[in-house]
Amino acid sequence: MKIIVCVKQVPDAKDVRLDPKTNTLAREGVESIMNPFDRHALEAAVVLKEQYGGTVTAITMGPPQAEETLRDAVACGADEGVLVSDRAFAGADTWATSYTLAKAVEKLGEFDLILCGKQAIDGDTAQVGPGLAQRLDIPYVAYARKITECVDGVIRLERLMDDGYDEIEMGMPALMTVVKEINEPRVPSLKGKMKAKKMQATVLTAADIGADPECLGLQGSTTQVVKVFSPQFSAERCMLTGTVDEQVDQLLVKLEELL
């Protein structure tokens, strides 16, 4: 079975700051980590590989330093890393990112399953996974919390819902995004770390994947960030005292003031 895991390098959530001028995340001097949900997707992929055989390819779109995240993925059980990197990709929103990743995945050839984290902790959109499936025209399930079985080209899984879970059967090739409940990611192994040190990621540029320049990066993005800010919390608290009747009277007065 050929499994592809999409991973993203994100700033460590312990240290998130916004650049007030550009309204984007300040990345300088902030430690980068693999998006935590992607770590669960990677673990799910490695467990599938251990159970059914096959290969796990970690793919990331990002600047050259995103190769670190691919190394991390190899240390935790991925077989190889693919870095989709080009200046032309800069400023991509989820629309352009899913286009770029789809072209890269097509370039890699046949696959059985694509796994993604349910969302990245920086953008928090949860759109790239489903978007990628749409671009590749394959079925997908978001919020997978358990993989029950994977035989004869069919994957059986559970999808986390607000009020329980769905049991789903899906024909492969397919894509799924996973929630953290799906597993407990492993710590990198010594052999994995050594393999990761020597790993040479395959680098794919815009030309390599045959992408339409109009669809890439900022130019290919439909989203424009006008302003990013931390909302001011301005709620006031007020305790009503007295007997129940007095409190009800006070409450009515307050409500009338507000209406």
Partner: protein, 385 residues
């Protein structure tokens, strides 16, 4: 921090072990201690990270490292929990006799499963009447056709009941004195082999300690480790290479206690300032740091000395064990003193550290026995000229 010039591979061992400690051991240590629960899942995490095979040659599925590689991993685990680290270390203690004296067949049979962490090993030496005085061993092994028949009881055996592979010493010919003891591999499933109840301990409660009971326990003839009569030799060689590991548990534990003490002293306000500002406190912390770093340096030096292939390593091995474990007892006690009332409460981690420290001065040869070893080595050294 002092730079010990670790190689890239050694730094990787430290990084992997540190991550396991932070993500798997520290979050669970209180519960494991209170429930006296064996850390099965953590040991599986350690196995998955390839660390069980650190000291085992590559031809048997290991990493091909030495005493120093083990020291680095054990130090990190001990920063989290000495109980967990002891369970990990005890498997190596059980494996070393086979590695040091065992036949190629025994190594091929047992090393790969120990290296992968699939099976835990344990070491059976101590008995009711044979602790520091190993010559008091009562357990016997008698050859009967193609089988050895073992009878006797081993006491306070770490990992007993949870391990699957045991290296056990028994008397094969009492008339030959120290040359009358031999070592054997006993498997969990061997007939006539059972365990006593789990012991209740002061510290290292995540580790399991039980008796090994042999009642006409029959094992195949080829489970003899090395030649008949070489049991004591194998035990001594095993302890020589394993003691720096125990010493490194002291270093890791001492580091953890110092970390807690300094962090606390910086935030605890008394008389309007952090207690760190008081020289009385600073001097305690300074002494802790001095003793800790001196111990670490000696442990690393001893482990590297062993790995260099030096012939006589007993003295260095014993010296680092004594120094680092006496340090751990002192430093953890001082940490409780710095945290004072809080330190005495189970809500803070230092009381557990102090409880865990005591065993380090006792097991794998009491620190008094270590001093005997050092004294005898000195006597020998100065008699040569």
């Amino acid at each position: 921090m002092v730079n010990y010039f670790l190689s890239e591979e050694q730094q990787m061992i430290v990084d992997v072990a540190r991550q396991i400690t932070a993500e798997k051991i520290v979050p669970q240590r209180v519960e494991l201690d209170e429930k006296e629960q064996f850390p099965t899942e953590i040991l599986q995490d350690i196995a998955q990270a390839d660390l069980f095979g650190l000291y085992i040659p590559e031809e048997y599925g290991g990493f091909g490292g030495g005493s120093f590689d083990m020291v680095l991993a054990l130090e990190e685990f001990a920063r989290g929990c000495v109980g967990v680290a002891t369970s990990f270390a005890a498997s190596a203690l059980g494996a070393y006799p086979i590695l040091i004296s065992g036949s190629k067949e025994l190594k091929q049979k047992y090393m790969p499963v120990i290296a992968s962490g699939e099976k835990l090993a344990a070491f059976g030496l101590t008995e009711a009447n044979a602790g520091s005085d190993a010559s008091g061993i009562q357990t016997t092994a008698v050859l009967d056709g193609d089988e050895w028949v073992l009878n006797g009881t081993k006491q306070w055996i770490t990992n007993a009941g949870d391990a699957k592979i045991y290296s056990v010493i028994a008397i094969t010919d009492r008339s030959k004195g120290p040359r009358g003891a031999s070592m054997f591999v006993v498997e969990d499933s061997d007939p006539g082999f059972s365990y006593g109840p789990k012991e209740k301990k002061l510290g290292i409660r995540a580790s399991s300690t039980r008796e090994l009971i042999f009642k006409d326990c029959r094992i195949p003839k080829d489970r003899l480790i090395g030649r008949q009569g070489t049991g004591f030799f194998t035990v001594m060689k095993t302890l020589d290479v394993s003691r720096p590991g125990i010493a490194s548990l002291g270093v890791g534990l001492g580091q953890a206690a110092l970390d807690e003490a300094v962090l606390y002293a910086k935030q605890r306000i008394q008389f309007g300032k952090p207690v760190m500002a008081f020289q009385a406190v600073q001097h305690i912390l300074a002494d802790m740091a001095i003793q800790l770093e001196a111990s670490r340096a000696l442990v690393y030096a001893a482990a590297r000395h062993i790995d260099s292939g030096a012939k006589d390593v007993s003295k260095a091995s014993s010296m680092c064990k004594v120094m680092a474990t006496d340090m751990a007892m002192k430093v953890t006690t001082d940490a409780v003193q710095i945290l004072a009332g809080h330190g005495y409460m189970r809500e803070y981690p230092v009381e557990k550290m102090m409880r865990d420290a005591k065993i380090l001065q006792i097991y794998e040869g009491t620190n008094q026995i270590q001093r005997n070893v050092i004294g005898q080595a000195l006597n020998k050294e100065y008699s040569r000229s």
